[in-house]
């Protein structure tokens, strides 16, 4: 049955009374004993080498080094937060996933405190980690909707193109999933606008197509069904054929879940 999307849902009904902050993360990731010798400065200098294709051990080692660093120049980057997100996304254990995401929020907050406010990536990874940390907890999710929107908006204004249109994608998804007015910030018109833009400006990222398909599907209009299926198929093709490394599996689950909804 086709229905409108909400709450809901992320349900999260909008009502957002007082902001329920998430618990502060531990100071650093679990320590690893068999990591290569590396410095925080070298990691930052070569941060593009760390990403979807890096194995979890490599990312965890890097995270440990970054967590130990007292260098403000390192502390103001988004690297630690990004690595937390990538590790969290691929972790199937909810508790561990949320711990990593919460740690990512902590890294981003440290970056802001060290002068990283003008870096859109800091805001972006803060929002992405925050969303991941609270999404299974309705009161926390609801209480953080305003902050999520604010951080994503800043990311969009400062660095709209990072992570293949990540700020467009995440803000669009937030407007799609959040409770609609007057209960919340959810707004399908805005969601469609942002996600259509994400697809047009960053057509190579599979999730841009998936989220746009979900937004179109939410309209409940039979006339858009062909477009929904086309966007879904394109996104799935990009995921299958692209070199998305360790992100491929968790993203595939997102596609599979929506495919079930389409049936």
């Amino acid at each position: 049955m086709r229905t409108a999307r909400l709450l809901s849902t992320l349900l999260l009904p909008a009502l957002l009374a007082g902001c329920a902050g998430i618990q502060q993360p531990p100071a650093q990731a679990d320590r690893l004993s068999d990591c290569p010798k590396q410095t925080a400065a070298s990691l930052v200098a070569e941060q593009n080498q760390l990403g979807h294709l890096s194995d979890s051990h490599t990312l965890a080692c890097a995270l440990t080094v970054l967590g130990d660093s007292q260098d403000p120049a390192v502390g103001r980057t988004s690297l630690g937060s990004r690595l937390c997100l990538q590790l969290a996304e691929r972790d199937t254990n909810q508790e561990k996933r949320e711990k990593l995401a919460t740690q990512g929020v902590g890294f981003a907050e440290t970056a802001l405190a060290n002068g990283g406010d003008s870096d859109g990536a800091v805001h972006y990874y803060l929002a992405a980690n925050l969303g991941l940390a609270v999404r299974e907890h309705i009161t926390q999710a609801m209480g953080n909707l305003g902050r999520l929107e604010s951080e994503m908006k800043q990311a969009l204004a400062l660095s709209p193109d990072i992570d293949n249109g990540g700020p467009l994608r995440l803000l669009g998804a937030l407007y799609l999933k959040a409770p609609a007015w007057p209960n919340g910030i959810g707004d399908r018109d805005k969601a469609l606008e942002l996600l259509e833009k994400a697809v047009k400006e960053h057509p190579k990222h599979p999730l841009n197509h998936l989220f746009y398909a979900q937004a179109l599907w939410d309209e409940g209009d039979e006339a858009t069904l062909t477009q929904v299926k086309a966007e879904f198929a394109l996104g799935e093709k990009l995921l299958t054929e692209g070199n998305w490394g360790y992100s491929k599996e968790p993203w595939k689950k997102e596609f599979d879940a929506f495919q079930q909804e389409l049936k």
Partner: protein, 279 residues
């Protein structure tokens, strides 16, 4: 009924469970016209149910919810599942009450009230009364239940289907944007939507063309043939204390519900008469 109330009430039902059932007791939740995805709504309610189960010391997964935003689907599920308890709109309660022996159990109280008013809004100085809107376009989420609007909100004086050109929407904000642009002549809002108008930036000022009488908020209903008076009373009592519970209070505050009040059946009698009179 307000979506937020509906969701929280669904979750709270767990506390009134008579016993922790070995198989989950299905709660049918009907929110016609709601901008709610079924999967998301059930997921949200499930999360909340788990919280309430913990608070109420009930066995985890004692209850399950079945959510729908479509009136037809609600009718079907009520007929197939025969739930002991359900959460419905007032319109669906009035329509299904005889068929399923439904009686109201609790109502949410919001801002000190257990009732609400509906309003028809138009651009300022464009229309002075409902009569001037004859043949004009009327939008809104609550139009998913035109019988309810005609018989209860308009007290049987106007049949919305023949009087207006209805433009049902599952998003109130979209309907209001259309009104702002002049694409719609009027929009009908519930109390919650009306209360949220101040947060919108509209180019054109709006004014109220029609205000309904007070209409009771709908909450939990029970099938009187499959539940005992004791069970229903237990439900009511548990709900009444819910918003003072540490965890329950957090949920209540989140959704703006002050408390849940045991229903005085007399409150709904005028609605039942209006509904019958409209036939």
């Amino acid at each position: 009924m307000r979506k937020t109330c509906l969701i929280i009430i669904a979750s709270l039902l767990i506390t009134f469970a008579i016993n922790a059932a070995p198989t989950p007791e299905m709660i049918v939740v009907c929110y016609p016209g709601g901008s709610v995805n079924v999967k998301d709504a059930n997921g949200a309610m499930s999360s909340m149910l788990r919280v309430v189960e913990r608070v109420g010391q009930w066995q985890e997964n004692s209850f399950n919810s079945l959510f729908t935003a479509k009136a037809d689907e609600c009718r079907k599920q009520m007929a197939e599942k025969h739930p002991k308890f359900a959460i419905t709109s007032l319109g669906l309660y009035l329509e299904l009450r005889s068929q399923h022996n439904l009686i109201p159990v609790v109502q949410p109280k919001i801002k000190g009230l257990t009732s609400e008013r509906y309003r028809v809004m138009a651009q300022k100085d464009k229309y002075k009364s409902l009569d001037e809107l004859k043949g004009k376009t009327l939008g809104g989420t609550v139009l998913e239940e035109p019988d309810f609007i005609g018989k209860i909100v308009f007290a049987g004086k106007y049949d919305p289907v023949s009087f207006f050109v209805l433009k049902t929407s599952n998003q109130a904000i979209r309907a209001l944007r259309s009104l702002d642009k002049g694409e719609l002549d009027a929009v009908i809002l519930n109390e919650q939507q009306f209360g949220g108008l101040a947060s919108l930036q509209m180019k054109t000022p709006l004014e109220t063309v029609f205000t309904s009488e007070e209409i009771p908020l709908m909450g939990v209903v029970a099938n009187s043939a499959t539940t005992t008076e004791e069970e229903r009373a237990g439900f009511g009592k548990a709900l009444e204390g819910m918003c003072t519970d540490t965890e329950g209070k957090k949920l209540c505050e989140l959704f703006g519900v002050e408390t849940f009040a045991t229903v005085d059946p007399a409150v709904f009698e005028p609605m039942v008469k209006l509904w019958a009179g409209g036939k």
